[in-house]
Symmetry: C2
Subunit: 308 residues, 2 copies
């Protein structure tokens, strides 16, 4: 088994994304300005980000043996992602989404078909693989299996990063949050767990549950970081936004990159924000995920000159 | 050049179709009940219908040399459709649509990306091909080229069938209507050309412009046929409707089948209605287009026993 720095465990899908002048009503037709078909899914997008930044990564998930599954696999291997432990369920249909991006506002409607594959099956041999990286990255998919993976990783000293998306629930993620080292939560998730509805309150509650670091991603409002020692906000970088699909996922991947480099928390959050901002400049979750030189140039243009 | 009974000239696309519990708002996510990706486009669907009914057909259109174009071509050749005169524009993107079918009502929202390929180019040698069938079927795509094709076909005694869809305009189709033998109009098109907004009035106006036969397709209301000698309505056949995408296109193909058999107008309209009804029983424009025995069985079950 070759060493991978990050193993991702969770959801991969295929997205069809249209750029529309407005959302159509029933019985209405609209002409799209653009349409694209790209790989998607929270963990998969984070891993593509890491791979493009130069990190060696592996993906564990479960898809079908249909043509869509083949497209998903081809997209991942083209990025150099190891999929030797990806589970392919015979006869199952793979997940796909249809996403409409409203051109005037950049807001999205997401229609997700989950497919028919079951939860990821954590077989005995797989635990060694899941614990072979420096980080295990989770998105809450296949919760029982994810928890088994997280507990094994914790025992072996592998750090755990958890993506708590806007649609996730704390009840669902509770056990995982307790095992997590770096928790990156969507603003809506942090607000939902706060007694007063404020994301800072939610972050504080989440931090008390176990993580060393809690980061709240706030879209065009930037990010907020909370640890036992510090709390700070970073602003988002200004870009011409075409599509925010997958921006959070890219933030996660880039944040893990900073962690692997041993960067301080401010630099890590700014790097992740810059990487996510660049992703938003083209239609689709994957097309505009940048490579490392592009991110460093972008940061330099915005006054962040880092030596090495 | 092998003999084809029908040559179709017009639009082909690739459709991604989702079955949704409701249309999402912006910033909303919904879980789709099903999702499929199939070939689409008015003329292409009519030709697939004819091919499945056993008729030898050819398709002339213009798409890009992208992967979508390859999928479109593969889908047509798999049906036995001759595409030797299909134009493939280097560097152009092929048309695709995203279609959301509202499960409770069966109504649709259609988001169409037209692609970047130009109009079909009617080169000299192509006119012989376009006029090689017993029918030339048009959908109004590439209007100048379609008119040149229609005029050549008229001169050579090839009958012309025109699909006047709900979104078409009479101004746009005027010259084509005059050259048409069989005009099949969506109800909305017929209503739009009527002084009083009634489809029967619209059909009468269209008939005076030149066609021998005008048929108005009315969805679950069936069809209406008008000629110089007769006017009659046929009821739609009751089926469990999943998705009406492409039902009109399938009606056109099946109507041409009846014309090729020399059937009387009532039988032709009923056969076309039965074929279109069967199409509606599955998600997607192409999946449920039936073969001839299936249509004949369905008609027999509904009391239409025809001998040969």
């Amino acid at each position: 088994m070759s060493a991978r720095d990050v193993i991702g465990f969770g959801f991969a899908a295929l997205d069809t994304i249209g750029l529309t002048p407005h959302l159509p009503e029933l019985d209405e037709g609209v002409l799209l300005e653009d349409l694209t078909r790209q790989g998607g899914g929270p963990v998969a997008q984070a891993l593509v980000t890491l791979a493009r930044l130069g990190v060696s990564v592996g993906y564990v998930g479960r898809i079908g043996d249909d043509e869509v599954g083949t497209e998903i696999r081809t997209g991942l291997t083209a990025e150099g992602i190891d999929i030797s432990f990806l589970q392919i369920e015979p006869g199952a249909r793979s997940p796909q989404s249809m996403i409409l991006v409203d051109q005037p506002t950049g807001k999205r409607s997401i229609c997700a078909f989950r497919g028919t594959a079951g939860d990821i099956d954590v077989a005995a041999g797989m635990l060694d693989y899941l614990c072979s990286g420096r980080f295990l990255h989770l998105d809450g998919h296949s919760p029982a299996a994810a928890l088994a993976a997280a507990e094994a990783a914790s025992r072996r000293g592998v750090r755990i990063c958890l993506d708590a998306g806007a649609g996730a629930s704390l009840d669902h993620l509770l056990a995982l949050v307790q095992a997590t080292t770096v928790l990156i939560a969507a603003e809506h998730f942090a607000m939902n767990v706060a007694s007063d509805g404020a994301y800072e309150t939610g972050a504080a509650r989440l931090l008390r549950m176990g993580p060393e670091i809690v980061v709240v991603t706030r879209g065009e409002q930037g990010s907020y970081t909370l640890t036992g020692d510090t709390a700070f906000a970073t602003a988002a970088f200004p870009v011409s936004v075409v599509d925010t699909t997958g921006a959070g996922d890219v933030f996660h991947g880039a944040y893990l990159f900073g962690q692997l480099q041993g960067w301080d928390l401010v630099r890590t959050a700014e790097f992740a924000g810059a990487t996510a901002a660049l992703k938003c400049t083209r239609l689709g979750g994957r097309a505009a995920i940048p490579r490392l030189p592009e991110v460093l140039n972008f940061l330099a243009e915005h006054g962040r000159q880092w030596s090495g």
